[in-house]
């Protein structure tokens, strides 16, 4: 008798399971898989463009074609739902790779743009965030990259390889939110623009945008971005070119293997200053003349020149941050807070002004640990 009851129970449970199992059940082929989105501002509305990765059905090969959907709404989510009315498909967000922001979004609409992406359970917070420079974000999403079919995948691949080039930061959504809410309300975002190449318009990521409290303060070039990453200890690799070592035509390209920056606040005689120490381990990757910088005295020259030039670059960015942007994109504030909490309590209210004429001591420790596979430059006797 007991077993009969048990059987009934099992039967009922499986019927319940099979009949009601449709709350979150979605067939994979019915999903419109979003690979990226762009947000532009149009008067008081938000213009949303979504790039959908559309797997072409048919014989193998797995070609993916981009489909661009466009909608408008009062809020981002409003626009997102608008898509259903237009395409009949509910967009699936978990595989969205990039969030492109138009420049106009920085007129106090940034939180409105980010909040939905951050709050929604489907979107992932490791989505990359970029700023479209000079063009509308939707135009960038609509361009045709060279290698990948989808713009989003191309941007994703580029941002992932950031550590080999270091000409732009790569910033995930969580990092942006974290920076904006904690590190003195400033953040940097990679800038993407369109260039013409062989008659095609191709997206290119270069430099970065400086943001403070929803406002876009300005842009940094690729070189400046690298220096900034150096100070923030976010540089993981890439190149640095030391120009005119010994002779005007000798440019030495160094590949960075290790880089460690320590920022130490120093409090002396009632004044706060910063000591930035950069420890670099590099290899000579390219020498543009027959000048032998590998032999001991050449090496000495190269090291000295390298230190000088790197220091110069970095100081330039520090100046720019202090004088032009007048905000703490360098991340000094959190260092002071972590190491000198008592002093931080005093300087915190007007930190930005305090920062403007703070002394920053930069020292570079350059270690050349090799010269790739050859021991001499290509010697051409004069």
């Amino acid at each position: 008798m007991k077993s009969v009851k048990l059987l009934y129970l099992v039967f009922l449970l499986s019927v319940i399971c099979l009949l009601c199992g449709c709350w979150n059940y979605r067939e994979i082929e019915r999903l419109a898989i979003a690979s990226g989105l762009s947000l532009d501002s149009l008067e008081d509305k938000i213009v949303l463009n979504i790039e959908i990765a559309n797997p072409a059905s048919g014989q193998g090969e797995g070609t993916v074609k981009p489909v661009l959907l466009k909608s408008e709404g009062k809020t981002v989510f409003d626009a997102v739902r608008e898509i259903i009315a237009k395409s009949g498909m509910k967009v699936y967000w978990s595989h969205a790779k990039v969030l492109l922001l138009g420049e106009e979004m920085f007129n106090g609409k940034l939180i409105g743009a980010l909040d939905w992406a951050f709050r929604d359970a489907e979107t992932r917070e490791d989505m990359w965030v970029l700023v479209a420079k000079g063009r509308k974000a939707s135009e960038i999403l609509g361009s045709k990259p060279e290698l990948e079919e989808l713009v989003s995948f191309q941007l994703d691949a580029t941002l992932r390889s950031q550590r080999f080039i270091s000409r732009f930061p790569s910033v995930e959504l969580w990092k942006l939110i974290d920076d904006m809410t904690s590190r003195e309300n400033t953040a940097i975002l990679p800038a993407v623009r369109l260039i013409d190449e062989k008659g095609k318009t191709v997206p290119l990521i270069e430099g970065c945008a400086v943001i403070k409290k929803q406002k876009l303060l300005g842009w940094l070039t690729a070189e400046e971005t690298k220096a900034l990453l150096w100070i923030r200890d976010e540089l993981k690799g890439g190149l640095t070119i030391i120009e005119k070592v010994g002779s005007p035509d000798t440019n030495v390209t160094l590949e960075i293997f290790e880089s460690k920056t320590t920022v130490k606040p120093v409090f002396e005689e009632g004044r706060l200053s910063m000591a930035v120490t950069i420890k670099l381990s590099v290899e000579i990757a390219e020498i543009s003349s027959s000048m032998d910088v590998i032999k001991p005295d050449g090496m000495k020259l190269l090291t000295a020149e390298g230190k000088k030039q790197i220091k110069r670059d970095i100081e330039k960015v520090v100046k720019k941050a202090q004088k032009e942007f007048k905000c703490d994109i360098l991340g000094f504030g959190s260092k002071v807070k972590a190491e000198m909490p008592d002093i931080w309590r005093e300087v915190e209210p007007d930190w930005d002004e305090y920062l403007q004429d703070m002394e920053v001591e930069v020292s570079v420790d350059l270690e050349i640990r090799g010269s790739a596979t050859t021991s001499k430059p290509i010697m051409i006797e004069d």
Binding site: W23, N24, A121, D126, R160, D178, T181, S182, A338, P341
Partner: protein, 372 residues
């Protein structure tokens, strides 16, 4: 027949149950959030202050070997008062179980299945807890003994994978806002989860030796505490205290950051696995305690008879206890301590006092205290 007449669990299983119980909903909800980046300090302080508390529980239990707190209450306070306190404790266990169940339901709803009614996941977990209670504490013990491997395995793997994401400077500055928030955090962490182990005094009636309750509770607290401290440290180092304050379920986000070689990523499910296993043990123990309590108060032969209605009631209570997740968080972090501490600290202190007086008196009158 080789059948064991009374259900017994060995010390190791009991210890593992305590450990998993502590991990319970703590790992996912986070604890000591008021202390911000010092939450790990708050938790360590809470562990330190929990040890005398659990020693108190152990002392009560080991004075009357073979009896659980319900029996002891009736022995010490007499039938009427004893039964009233018993009902209070049965309610506490029942309520705690419902709250954990609700935490689980909210978590699943928020993190993964927004369209599925919360009742479904809670019914499933409640049903499993009911099954476990019907199978008995012995089975729960054996089950835990096996699943601690999976738990520890997941926690270790996730731990290793999140090392590259950790930023130790997130822990600085230490004690920036003084000691007061840390003390608040300590109190919160003491009442949730460490002193919640008071529920175990309601179910551990048959441990191996007189010394067992001591050993089991203290080591269980230490081991479980270690894991909770580790989780807090990881969360702060990966996410930063400021970011954590924005999130309902910090661990879930900390783990979702993991990305090893673009292949090992999106591992949030491991958090769900850990929460399901640990939450299941916690709910089962609470349900078992509640059923035992009701059975003892109304002198039923067996707690299994009433397990089904009580489990269903628990799911119902879990369903109606909060309006939404905001209310749940507010209750868990603001009011829980003041509600729970009487059950966790003050009442046990009174009971211990009564137990001591009674056993002294009996000793002088020459009657051994254990025989009742």
């Amino acid at each position: 027949m080789v059948e064991v007449s009374k259900e017994t669990i060995n010390d190791k299983q009991a210890l593992i149950m305590v450990t998993i119980f502590i991990m319970g909903s703590t790992l996912i909800m986070g604890v000591g959030g008021v202390a911000k980046q010092d939450m790990w300090l708050a938790i360590i302080a809470a562990i330190a202050s929990a040890i005398p508390v659990v020693l108190m529980y152990a002392r009560i239990l080991s004075t009357y070997p073979g009896k659980d707190l319900y029996d002891i209450l009736q022995i010490v306070f007499g039938k009427v008062v004893g039964k009233i306190v018993c009902i209070l404790y049965a309610w506490f266990a029942f309520h705690l179980g419902a709250l954990v169940l609700r935490n689980y339901g909210e978590f699943i709803k928020t993190a993964a299945l927004p369209e599925t009614p919360m009742l479904v996941s809670m019914l499933f977990l409640g049903g499993l807890a009911l099954w476990a209670v019907k199978a008995g504490i012995e089975v729960i013990g054996r089950w835990s003994e096996f699943f601690i491997f999976i738990l520890i395995g997941f926690i270790l793997i996730i731990g290793f994978l999140s090392i590259p994401l950790m930023k130790p400077q997130n822990l600085l500055p230490v004690l920036y806002e003084g000691v007061v928030p840390v003390l608040h955090g300590t109190l919160a962490a003491l009442s949730f989860p460490f002193a919640e182990t008071v529920v175990f005094t309601l179910v551990f009636s048959s441990l191996q030796t007189r010394e067992s309750p001591n050993k089991v509770l203290v080591y269980g607290i230490l081991l479980g505490g270690l894991i909770v401290v580790y989780a807090a440290l990881r969360n702060v180092m990966v996410l930063g205290a400021n970011y954590i304050s924005m999130l309902y379920f910090p661990s879930y986000h900390a783990v979702s950051r993991i990305n090893v070689g673009n292949f090992l990523q999106r591992l949030e499910i491991s958090v769900v696995v850990v929460f399901t296993i640990a939450g299941f043990v916690k709910i089962s123990v609470c349900l078992l305690a509640a059923c035992t309590g009701i059975a003892k108060v109304f002198s039923l032969e067996n707690h299994r008879q009433i397990a089904t209605p009580i489990a269903l009631l628990m799911v119902t209570l879990a369903y109606i206890v909060y309006k939404n997740i905001m209310e749940m968080m507010e209750w868990a972090f603001k009011y829980w301590s003041s509600y729970a501490l009487p059950f966790q600290v003050f009442l046990p202190a009174i009971i211990l006092l009564a137990v001591e007086i009674k056993s002294r008196r009996q000793k002088t009158s020459g009657k051994p205290p254990a025989k009742q």
